[in-house]
Subunit: 123 residues, 2 copies
DNA sequence: GTAACTGCAAATCCTTTGCTATGGA
DNA sequence: TCCATAGCAAAGGATTTGCAGTTAC
């Protein structure tokens, strides 16, 4: 894989983002520093970064978000403000039990929790 | 809500399906009995059935699947054959604990487990 | 030099919507 | 009758792809 400033910028923006950004958000951010970047380039680089294991894809309501936090974790999405929060739930025991019961081999799992976040609960 | 044979057929096919079908699968199945049904009608009816709580929407890899089993349950998807299995995992305790820790209010959750299913493990 | 990468624009895929016609109550 | 629903086809939004030019190594 050859170096490119476009890929570098895409990765940087994801890693420094405080949100779980969409391709569109990333595109607009990178555009600030490299005004002629195209959506094609953003998507191609996102795919490569996922394949290299540097970022992770999570889908919410059918649209793709990208996550630079590669530690195993799960997600909470607020029904009011749509903000996505990382959550830690350890489920190894449940998953092992499920493997035994079903006889499937489990390689990964992901929990999406929905509700009202602490900020929106107050308002 | 007024009766329509199209909605009836859409619901029947989902309820009797052994898979978690996509809109396209449902469309093709209903077409066998009502050859002039359109995609617009299928999608409009799917939305209504979801709103009425008769079926459930689950997204895999960004595409919509529909599930007629309204008992709370989760899903396993096989990386080899893409078949989706229902799985039972009770996580109430973990979710309650998470609510306390994070101070978010949880309305629902869904776990997607990935791996190799028992059939594909053999081959 | 050359293969990976880019920007651009067109294509593709899934889903939604506008419009006029139909049909259930 | 009248309004929910249908079929059709066009629009929409997100993502992918083909191509010709550019650039890292």
């Amino acid at each position: 894989m050859r170096y490119s400033i476009q890929r570098e910028l895409v990765l940087q923006r994801i890693l420094s983002a405080k949100i779980h950004p969409t391709a569109e958000w990333i595109f607009n951010e990178v555009k600030k520093e490299k005004s002629n970047i195209s959506f094609g380039t953003v998507y191609r680089n996102l795919t490569q970064l996922i394949d290299r294991g540097l970022i992770r894809l999570i889908q919410f309501n059918g649209i793709a978000h990208y996550d630079g936090n590669m530690n195993p974790h799960n997600h909470f999405i607020c029904n009011e403000c749509s903000q996505i929060y990382d959550i830690e739930i350890e489920l190894e025991d449940f998953i092992s039990e499920m493997e035994l019961k079903t006889n499937h081999y489990v390689s990964s799992y992901h929990i999406k929790v929905r509700g009202t976040c602490r900020k929106c609960k107050v308002n």
